[in-house]
Symmetry: C2
Subunit: 357 residues, 2 copies
């Protein structure tokens, strides 16, 4: 029941991909455990330096000989609006003082981000990473050609039919469709991120009617029920974030894991407060305090840089109120398990469902 075009493309046993959660959760131990259990582990490399990425790939290879992937953020140009920057810096100042966070005066530039991304691409090629996925955009035709020359399998991220078609036309081998249920950053790169919030029940069949490459469903899927539902809708596989984030091997902060395990679906909100880009996570004091500023924040990744120190200090201080608590809309389905036990549970649930129909 598990073999399909996606599992043969990725050379995996089960069409279950661990979402490439950037910023800590995707430890080598998590990624390796997923790949060793027959799924696809992914390194969330978005915020990594090329050196960090190379180190993790090499570390991972000591833990698994199964396929795994790397996810990169495609940098996009943005405007630096000094007035917005100044206003939000002033707003953040008392929070920084409370947590004794030093002021960040050095902001990233597009050129730095772009050269970091190019260096990451080189590492992916040099280290012969079999699979590379992309968020926030599509690599250039030149970059795609270079990766394909080295037989890298490419996966794009789409939030609408239009974006999915764009990925297929650009040569992506598969497309992750990110439903409105998904935790973390919205992958929208065409149109309005506030409007491109399509639930998976609508998004999967509309996309699979329009493209021919395998579709991977992401958003709110945590167990065998979700996988079987995604398959009924036309997806060949799923990408799960929150379900793996709470696993024992995940590098997410324990406060983050516990907050999800105790949350209800009503606490999961959309916010730009942490990064300037729309993302889904648990509401806390920080998201509520920044609510009035939602439409007037500095662009991603500027806001991300401005709040970095606060988020870290909040975690060190033992409070979740100023941490980014990324989560999808199904926190009630989260279970604190090892990857091995979670994978077994999901596969058994899915196989039982198939027999009952």
């Amino acid at each position: 029941m598990w073999e399909n075009n996606l599992t043969s493309l990725l050379k995996i046993k089960y069409p279950i991909i661990q979402a490439p959660m950037a910023g800590g959760p995707t430890t080598s131990s998590l990624v390796a455990a997923v790949s060793n259990a027959g799924g696809l582990g992914m390194i969330g490399a978005g915020y990594m330096t090329p050196i960090q990425l190379r180190q993790q790939i090499r570390e991972l290879r000591l833990l698994t000989d199964k396929p795994f992937g790397v996810n990169l953020f495609v940098p996009t140009r943005y405007n630096v609006e000094w007035e917005k920057l100044q206003r939000i810096k002033e707003f953040l100042q008392p929070i920084k003082e409370r947590f004794l966070v030093e002021d960040t005066s050095i902001l990233p530039t597009f050129e730095q981000d772009y050269s970091n991304y190019l260096a990451q691409l080189t590492i992916v090629i040099e280290e012969k990473v079999p699979i590379c996925s992309f968020t926030f955009g599509i690599p250039s035709a030149h970059e795609i050609a270079r990766l394909k020359e080295h037989s890298t399998i490419l996966i794009g991220t789409a939030t609408t039919v239009q974006e999915a078609v764009h990925h297929e036309n650009s040569g992506m081998d598969a497309v992750v469709v990110q439903g409105s249920e998904a935790g973390g950053h919205r992958g929208t790169f065409k149109g309005n991120e506030n409007q491109n919030l399509i639930g998976l029940m609508s998004l999967i069949p509309q996309v699979t009617d329009y493209i021919n490459v395998p579709v991977i469903a992401a958003g709110g899927i945590m167990d065998g029920r979700g996988i079987m539902a995604a398959k009924c809708l036309g997806a060949l596989g799923v990408q799960m974030g929150t379900a793996f984030l709470v696993c024992e091997e995940s590098g997410a902060n324990n406060l983050h894991k516990e907050a999800i395990l105790q949350a209800s679906e009503e606490q999961v909100v959309l916010t730009k407060a942490f990064s300037g880009k729309l993302a889904r996570g648990l509401k806390n004091q920080f998201t509520e305090q920044l609510e009035p500023y939602e439409d007037n924040l500095p662009a991603y990744p500027l806001q991300n840089e401005l709040t970095k120190g606060i988020r870290k200090a909040s975690a060190v201080d033992g409070t979740t109120e100023y941490m980014s608590l990324w989560a999808g809309q199904s926190p009630r389905l989260a279970k604190k398990l090892t990857v091995h036990d979670l994978m077994n549970k999901i596969i058994m649930e899915a196989e039982r469902l198939r027999l009952n129909h």
Copy 2:
């Protein structure tokens, strides 16, 4: 494969419920066609007078001897804010002049709405309607007891786990869970309607883990793929609006049907512009012009009354730009068919999917 606790509760062949779209679409010909095809037709009686409701029930009985249902809006108290009313009246004035709509000076009151609702309940009982569903709230314990004395089967509408639990505890026999994908008004009655936008992939399994009465999934479901997905997630049936709205028997305006048949999922937005209550439909000039006022509109049903004349006149004038074009997030899946052909198509698709798994 189709028999379950929901089909036996409702005495229907297929667990497919036609959503009770108030305001025109649910003609007797539509409702009867759905019931005659083995699903459950529903009269959307929210805006009807008791006399209109009695007439339609009697008309319907001439067209079908199968079970059908009536849906009522549970009235809720609201504040009349004169400043908001005045501001929006002034804003609407030029649009009214353009369409030669006379000014509505008589506004509804809660007391009128509530006595209309009580009279509707009496009709449901007197006419021995087998099934009654509710939106926007839960009937009082007294009303529920009265309906149950007459063996009416009761169905509530929930947008969160909390609301679903409340329905079960109140004695509802089944619960419709309305995903964020759903077209028309949000059924939220606890918490924030702007936040209770949970996709079905997340909502169905979280609700079915918490309640024991049958769960009916609503939102973006248009074909056999959606039904099988909803069943995998734990729902026993589905409620479909947009899919039936575009059917030949539906009383929706042809401009509305055509607009859906030509729309993409990105054109489907959330708006309070037409009624003061959050609802999903196609964006047009009216939703865009009222966007800046979204958070400062008179409460439902006041705004609904204020825009009624404009919506009608827009349709008469042959333009969709000022009509409420309710639609779920899957317009690309809409097909202009008879109910008979749509039902056959869905059932065949679902049975084919079951065999392939």
